[in-house]
Amino acid sequence: MTGKKEKENIQSAMKERIDYDELLNCTRCGFCLPSCPTYIETGKNEVHSPRGRIALMKGLVDGEIEPSEEVKQSINMCLGCRACEPVCPSGVRFGHLLEQARDALHQHEKKSVPKKTIRNLVFNQLFPHQNRMIRLTGLLGFYQRSGLRNTAKRLGIMKLLPDTLEMMEKVLPSVPTKREMQQRPRHLLPINRSTKKVAFFAGCLMDTVFRQTNEATTKLLQYAGCEIVIPETQGCCGALHGHSGEVNNAKEMAKRNIEAFEAADVDYIITNAGGCGAFLVDYGHLLRGEPEWQERAKAFSRKIKDVTSVLMDAGFDQLPLQVKERVVTYQDSCHLRNVQRIFMEPRKLLQSIEGVRYVEMKDAGRCCGSAGIYNITESEMSMQILDYKMKQTKQTRAKTVVTANPGCLLQMKLGIEREGLFDQVEAVHIADFLLEAYENGQKHAEDNERNSTEEFHVGKTGKITH
């Protein structure tokens, strides 16, 4: 229950932090409603819609309502997918309002000791420190490789975890060794031709647990003619913190990243995780209260570009790309689509691959329910949303589901696992898939060339004999 003092604190924090003009921008036209996954999944409950959430925030600021459990639940249940933003004719930046509201709620909410401990561990002790991420991922690798995993499975230890976590453990990729992570190369040269110099935003989880995808990404960029620098002092983008009401932490991480990339002096900073990219392009907003950082943040944000967008610019879709024939579908990353507005590029790239029969999934732009740590904190709603997503996936009859963000990737793998489809359907990150297609395409082209050269030789020899 929410105590009186706590209520007052939340109320004054709301007043202080929420951008009132932005609240007033909402004309309550309701155009956002059909785009909101929680509105739909709750049987059209206005409390769980963007318009309703804005009304609740305004009610809190105006002092018309108190931060009751139901009000908090409404704010917490939001996926933060921001699908309401592109459809909002008034241009309300709902994502910002949500961050401000969560910030006000979480800073003053009395949390249980375990919840506090976990939050402290994750937000303060782990993600801001890449070396600790490496160590933890190293442990995970040890667990995966040493046979401990099998033992744990045999003993049924995993059964002690909540269902979602237990499944999550199954679908995690095989992670690199600690040494591989520590010896990350910092400068890569283009292969074949040179077009531009870029920096790569490696991310925290992406550079540890999803290291393989990061490597695929840099390779693709190299093939596309990019010289790549990977600044060592960069770290986690801070999205997880920003979205969970840990704004001060997020700001520190933003500053560190801005500094790290300023030194690199590049045209673009490439990301391969929709969630990170969307947060990086918003650094200007994050640091709005700090004038000395404003210009630097904006300059940084202007350089952010998703890998699919760079590849399209480089004409990657014109190269010979090939995979074994199959149906492929694409699940949008919400933040890549709704914030960075990138949705045609991945589709065009996929459609340019020989062997891909691309089938668009119904509501591909609707959130899969991963949403950062949402699938753990709001697992019931997350699984309900995932069930809908899997229904649509199955209808495409796709063998490969392509995603553009690590959270989405894990969630789709989880969905496949839950449906018992692991031997029929795979979920992959677009970078891994494109690399496979490129290397296959190259091999095929070489084979063709060799064949035609051989024919040519035969012909020539024939002629000579003649």
């Binding site: 007033l24 309701g30 409390v47 139901e70």
Partner: protein
């Protein structure tokens, strides 16, 4: 406040989980799309069947509890704001299309179905449900019926009223009646169907409707005509109608509106024109081709400096859906947008547009105008800030004068948005005191306890309005 007895009764009818009384729910159903109006209900109830609705109404009638039936809350007349508390009745559990009858060309539907789904289902069998209010993607058909919603196609195809063949209604005393049917002709007694369409939830609750469908038009073409001044555009509208051409859509947008819409939709709208007409014609392809040609000539004769025809269906759809966002997009310019929908006979459009501009200058307020010029239904929209009390007073005065002007030109105070609470003070301009008296008698006969959506259309007795002005 609900008595404990009433609360228990309502919960036992709809089920505890379908009756909400927590503050979050009450606040989330305290408003609709109308700015300046907000009031908390005492409960939010979601029945699943007509019988449940009837039982709920009986409880409310016995206990004198106001009932506000609400679809998606997208109306623009404060029609679903629970000004006097009571229960907000939702139809989220009555959201099925019951039947598509391809022999009689009808659809039978529950009230909670989205309008666009009705359109879609009809289209799938080669049929057409023409009413397309601006909010059709989210509005519910029950709300459309209660508000008699219009849309972009009113000029040629009429409005919701013209497509309602029959209704199932729960009366304020809890009895269930059925009116009309799958019939083109039916004169058995008073036309209650027409009475209930547009009654704004003040006479009872629509729980099912039979809608008329028509064959899908063969083709459609979309055109934009650009003008250097507002009046030439308005005169073109009159010229098109005077030349006996009835386009499917004939929309008017002024420069400010075009600019914000383009800012949102980014489809290459001409932001340099002072006024734009968006014109659509549908039907047999030779007729469409001929009409579009004649319309283009008329546009040029009336000083359009450019006339372009959309090249593809996608391009055409982009234009009309961009137009739908006009009202909300205008709110980008100022914190508060207040719009009205004064409507005049088509022939008077040019005069009305001129009058609106003069009135805006007179009261020093900023008014953008767009709307369904073809059917005389304009949407003068005032850009303001509700925190600026002085300006709001001037806005109210300006609108009052606009209403007077519209009625003077043979028009009405509202073409399609409804009276609700918002235009209640102006209803007498159009209906006259005797007219309101007649409406009051109907209301008193059907709803003697005044439980149905109180404070809308007209007040039962003179009482102060409960308006949250924040």
């Amino acid at each position: 406040m609900l008595t404990e007895k009433a609360r228990d009764q309502l919960a036992s009818i709809a089920g505890q989980e379908n009756m909400k009384t927590d503050t979050a729910s009450l606040l989330a159903y305290s408003y609709d799309s109308t700015s300046q109006y907000q009031a908390m209900p005492d409960a939010v109830v979601s029945p699943a069947t007509t019988n449940e609705v009837a039982s709920i109404v009986q409880v409310c009638n016995n206990e004198n509890i106001p009932i506000v039936p609400r679809g998606s809350g997208t109306n623009l007349c404060a029609g679903t704001t629970p000004l006097e508390g009571g229960i907000v009745l939702l139809f989220n559990r009555m959201d099925q299309i019951i039947e598509v009858d391809e022999e009689n060309l009808t659809i039978r539907t529950q009230p909670g179905v989205f309008t666009k789904d009705i359109n879609k289902v009809a289209e799938e069998v080669g049929l057409f449900y023409p009413p397309d209010p601006g909010s059709m993607h989210i509005s519910q058909i029950g709300g459309n019926i209660s508000e008699n919603s219009g849309g972009l196609r009113g000029l040629k195809y009429g409005v919701t009223r013209d497509y309602i063949l029959g209704l199932e209604i729960v009366l304020p005393n809890g009895k269930i009646i059925r009116t009309g049917g799958k019939l083109a002709k039916d004169v058995a007694g008073y036309d209650l169907t027409r009475l209930y369409v547009g009654s704004e939830g003040t006479l009872g609750i629509v729980t099912e409707a039979t809608l008329k469908l028509i064959p899908q038009p063969e083709t459609k073409k979309t055109m934009l005509a650009l003008y250097r001044d507002l009046e030439s555009a308005a005169e073109t509208v009159s010229a098109i109608i005077a030349n006996r051409i009835i386009p499917a859509t004939l929309e008017f947008l002024d420069q400010a509106t075009v600019r914000v819409v383009e800012d949102f939709a980014q489809i290459g709208l001409p932001t340099d024109a002072q006024a734009v007409l968006l014109i659509e014609q549908d039907g047999a392809s030779e007729v469409v081709a001929r009409d579009m040609e004649r319309i283009a000539v008329l546009c040029k004769e009336n000083n359009a400096f450019k006339v372009t025809v959309a090249e593809s269906k996608q391009q055409a759809d982009a234009l009309t859906s961009a137009r739908r966002t006009a009202l909300s997009a205008l709110s980008r310019l100022k914190p508060t947008t207040i719009l009205e929908d004064a409507t005049v006979p088509r022939s008077e459009i040019a005069k009305m547009v001129r009058a609106i501009n003069d009135i805006a200058v007179k009261y020093e307020v900023s008014i953008c105008t767009f709307g369904h010029a073809g059917d005389g239904n304009l949407h003068p929209t005032c850009l303001t800030d509700i925190r600026n009390k002085d300006e709001i007073t001037r806005v109210e005065k300006a609108f009052e004068e606009i209403f007077h002007k519209a009625v003077e030109l043979g028009g009405t105070i509202t073409g399609e948005h409804g009276v609700g609470a918002m235009k209640l003070p102006h209803l007498h301009l159009k209906a006259g005191e005797a007219g309101i008296e007649a409406m009051r008698s109907i209301k008193a006969a059907l709803d003697p306890n005044g439980i149905m959506n109180p404070g809308k259309v007209f007040t039962q007795a003179e009482r102060n309005r409960v308006v949250v002005n924040k």
